[in-house]
Amino acid sequence: MTVTVKLFGAMKAQLGNVSELNVRLERGHRVRDLIEAIRATHPGVGALLRDKNVLVSVNHDIAHEDTELAHIDEIALLPPFSGGARALRRSHVHAPVRR
């Protein structure tokens, strides 16, 4: 299954203003599998995922690592918002706070 992932802010800049990634999910279909796949295929983005508190959204809702993904889902990587989401920022992509 291949999913399309939207990028914003620093993550988009990292890839030279590319605003979407196509990521092939070979093994599982959950958010954690997506993160693994991105780390393998896009190390630059993977490093940002590790260093920053990036949230993953699925269909405009904040997801968690067990969230299942479908081909048609609208998926995005959300670097910390400029307004300062302190409570959210404390949580890494591996354990985002559920709102």
């Binding site: 914003f8 405009h60 609208e74 995005a76 918002f81 920022r89």
Partner: protein, 152 residues
């Protein structure tokens, strides 16, 4: 009985907006004021572009946002404010794209019967907006462009 003259029909979509263009604070306040003649107090918060950030000079800003999710988040904040505070109307407006120093960025307008509720809800709305709305700010500084990720 006819509707009070001051009550005007406003599309809800006008009360939650992301837009590139500047806005008129008077017009936005009028939009809220016109929603109900019960309103007796209107609190506003206006965020503007400053020329200094983390001890760096800032010459201009660019705001990026997540189309769809940002609007949904603002709609949620407005609904929650209307539900959880004793207020009559809430307007949330954020600009995107390039913004010059001194220009308007974000506006919150809250109308209530009484000022205490208007102030409280207005404060909550701007704090919530900044925390959970997928909007990103890039500052142009002498050292280059910086995506801001930690701001009070």
């Amino acid at each position: 009985m006819s509707m009070p003259r001051s009550v005007v029909e406003v599309d809800d979509a006008m009360l939650v907006r992301l837009q590139r263009e500047d806005f008129s604070i008077d017009e936005e306040i009028a939009r809220v004021r016109g929603r109900s003649s019960r309103i007796g107090g209107i609190a506003t918060f206006l965020g503007t572009a400053r020329d200094r950030s983390d001890e760096r000079d800032v010459s201009s800003l660019v705001f990026d946002y997540y189309e769809g999710m940002a609007q949904k988040t603002l709609r949620d904040i407005r609904s929650r404010a209307l539900r959880e505070f004793d207020v009559i109307e809430v307007l949330l407006l954020h600009r995107y794209g390039e913004i010059a120093v001194g220009d308007n960025i974000v506006l919150v307008v809250v109308g209530a019967m009484h000022r205490a509720d208007a102030f409280r809800a207005c404060r909550w709305c701007i704090d919530e907006l900044k925390q959970i709305t997928p909007i990103w700010k890039c500052e142009h500084t002498p050292d280059g462009a910086v995506w801001v990720e930690q701001h009070p």
